[in-house]
């Protein structure tokens, strides 16, 4: 074999490996979705998603997981809104007052590192804080802890969106004599669709996170009622149903997982649509 053939073979070999890796990943993703769908569809019923658990639910009794669905939605909504109150000014601050400075990069580093902190650590911190403040496991404590998990995700995603805004926009606005704050308003208008995407992304992550709400939000069979009461969440509902020894309850866990996966799919689909559709007033 001459040199040219060998090089061609090498090229084909590595392209083959790379394509196989990518195809393997897609295949695994397909298997995950297929297994969850096939096993979940059997136990899925209208009763499952429209009723709270009745007594004896975990022994195979009637009822559904409405408590967990509503609880998860409440937790994720609260956490996203709370995180938004901090993350949005933070990201805008980096792009109006601190553009491309060392401090902005420092903040980015801190946010990236916070993104990497496992949610169980946030959960333990939330628990320590609860003990300190004399709170019990409740929707409020869960929202506070989940907001910490979601904050860096929201801030960094929104930061990336702001990075895409045209440079001319800043120069044009500031050259008209606008203050930085007035420029911030212009920038916010420009980045609004991106903010929606970031919010939905954070919301999706909030729904799926279990380790942080495990200590702090508790679990209950009742529907969420007040900020000071415990709430159920979908991931924990799946986990608890799975820990029972009864096959019919476990089958419900599969159905709950399907519900959770569909919720996540819908949210991420909305996130992608919002990026495309809401850009009516955006300068490109």
């Amino acid at each position: 074999m001459n040199r040219k053939q060998r090089r061609r073979l090498q090229e084909a070999f590595f392209v083959g490996i790379m394509r196989t890796s990518l195809a393997g990943a897609c295949l695994v993703l397909g298997t995950i979705l297929a297994v969850i769908t096939v096993r979940g569809v059997g136990a899925l019923s209208w009763e499952m998603v429209s009723q709270p658990p009745e007594s004896g639910f975990y022994l195979g009794g009637g009822g559904g997981i409405l408590n967990a669905i509503l609880g998860s939605l409440a937790l994720a909504t609260g956490a996203t809104l709370l995180a938004m109150a901090l993350a949005v000014p933070l990201a805008l601050f980096m792009h109006t007052y601190l553009r491309s400075s060392r401090i902005a990069n420092g903040i980015r580093l801190v946010l990236d590192v916070m993104w990497g902190i496992p949610s169980i650590v946030y959960g333990a911190f939330g628990f320590a804080l609860m003990v300190f403040m004399g709170l019990r496991a409740s929707l409020l404590a869960g929202v506070l802890t989940l907001a910490l998990v979601v904050l860096p995700i929201l801030a960094r995603t929104f930061d990336e969106v702001l990075m895409m805004s045209p440079k001319d926009l800043r120069e044009a606005t500031l050259s008209l004599g606008a203050t930085r704050l007035e420029y911030l308003g212009v920038l916010l208008r420009q980045a609004l669709p991106g903010l929606m995407t970031a919010l939905l992304l954070a919301f999706g992550r909030g729904i799926g996170d279990a380790a942080s709400v495990l200590f702090t939000a508790g679990y209950t069979d009742a529907l969420p009622q007040s900020l000071t009461r415990p709430v159920a969440s979908l991931p924990l509902a799946i986990f608890y149903q799975l820990s029972t020894p009864f096959p019919e309850v476990q089958a419900r866990a599969y159905a709950s997982a399907l519900v959770l996966t569909i919720l996540i799919l819908v949210v991420s689909l909305l996130a992608q649509l919002s990026a495309r559709r809401l850009g009516k007033h955006v300068i490109r």
Partner: protein, 331 residues
């Protein structure tokens, strides 16, 4: 005072906020300054959160650290909370082992996929493939755990396990199928590897794409194949970045809780074989929060475990992020 209309149509309105001695537009400037101060406070508070978290966990774990030295806690393998013996060694060993399995599974395919996305695909293919990777990140860990129970555990128990036991198991006790249940390091590691795969892909791709195009063009001009060009790019700039991607993947895997807890078998022992069940640090915290208050120093021990987790993840993350930032900023 009335508005004055100039000949070219501009309307000059009188300034109502103009107090004597003040410069024009002062209210706007004051507003600007107030907003700035507010945002400085928010940013500082956010950055201090990490310190606050570490501080709170440290304070809560002090009662335990007073009675036992750190070295003793990290190396002792007796875990008997009712006797006041808190040895973290089995959990640390379990966490490291399961993460190692995950990395062995994920690293090579993830790096190849990252290279493929950055060097071999056009922008349109990338934008089509991106949502798939995002979806892999977005799937909750409890769903991964459930998939592991339904699909990976039976696979390991009935097919992979006997096969590895029959071949490699004859050579080394590391590969003996000691545990017929299927719940153990291999199952948990496989699922964990799939979970960190998209992260490693994303960082690898980001780092490689920051290498300037001129470099690739120069190498291609000399008649190199695409793969040879890739090797050049990786050798020149990508090595540190790929290493950083792996470290980031490692620290993400190290802190993963629910999926590992559902698959690893949760028995307190230092694992000796790929199939042994073990116990990871995050699972320790998550599984025992219920009894936390019942025994002296128990809560403190779990907080110390969280602190340990935080310390490892912070160390790895800061180092890797600094490398990535430096590589991507230079272009």
């Amino acid at each position: 005072m009335e508005a004055e209309i100039r000949r070219d149509g501009a309307v000059l309105t009188p300034r109502y906020d103009a107090a004597p001695g003040r410069r024009p537009g002062t209210a706007r400037v004051i507003k600007d300054h107030l907003a700035r101060t507010g945002m400085v406070v928010i940013s500082a508070a956010t950055c201090l959160l990490v310190v606050l978290i570490a501080g709170a966990l440290l304070i809560r774990s002090l009662p335990l650290l007073r009675t036992q030295s750190l070295g003793e806690l990290l190396t002792s393998s007796t875990w008997q909370p009712s006797h006041g013996a808190f040895g973290f060694a089995p959990f640390i060993a379990g966490s490291i082992a399961v993460t190692a399995v995950a990395m062995i599974v994920a690293v090579a395919p993830a790096i190849f996929t990252g290279i493929y996305l950055s060097e071999y695909t056009v922008a349109r293919t990338r934008t089509r493939l991106k949502p798939l990777l995002d979806l892999m990140v977005g799937i909750p860990s409890v769903v991964y755990g459930l998939w592991g129970i339904l699909f990976v555990v039976p696979l390991v128990r009935d097919h992979v396990g006997p096969w590895i036991d029959g071949t490699l198991g004859q050579v080394s006790p590391l590969f003996r199928q000691t545990n017929p249940s299927g719940y153990g390091l291999l199952s948990a590691g496989l699922v964990l590897g799939i979970m960190v795969f998209p992260l490693i892909v994303a960082v690898t791709e980001e780092v490689l794409r920051s290498v300037p195009h001129e470099m690739r063009e120069a190498v291609l001009c000399l008649g190199a194949t695409r793969w040879e060009t890739t090797l050049c790019v990786v050798r020149r700039r990508g090595m540190a970045g790929i290493l950083a991607a792996v470290v980031l993947g490692f620290s993400r895997a190290f802190g993963e809780t629910l999926a590992v807890m559902m698959l690893i078998g949760n028995s307190v022992q230092v694992p000796r074989s790929l199939f042994d069940s073990a116990y990871s640090l995050p699972a320790l915290i998550a599984n025992n929060y219920g009894e936390m208050m019942s025994l002296p120093n128990y809560e403190s021990a779990l907080m110390a475990a969280a602190l340990l987790l935080l310390a490892v993840v912070l160390l790895f993350n800061v180092a890797a992020r600094l490398v990535v930032n430096r590589l991507t900023a230079r272009s």
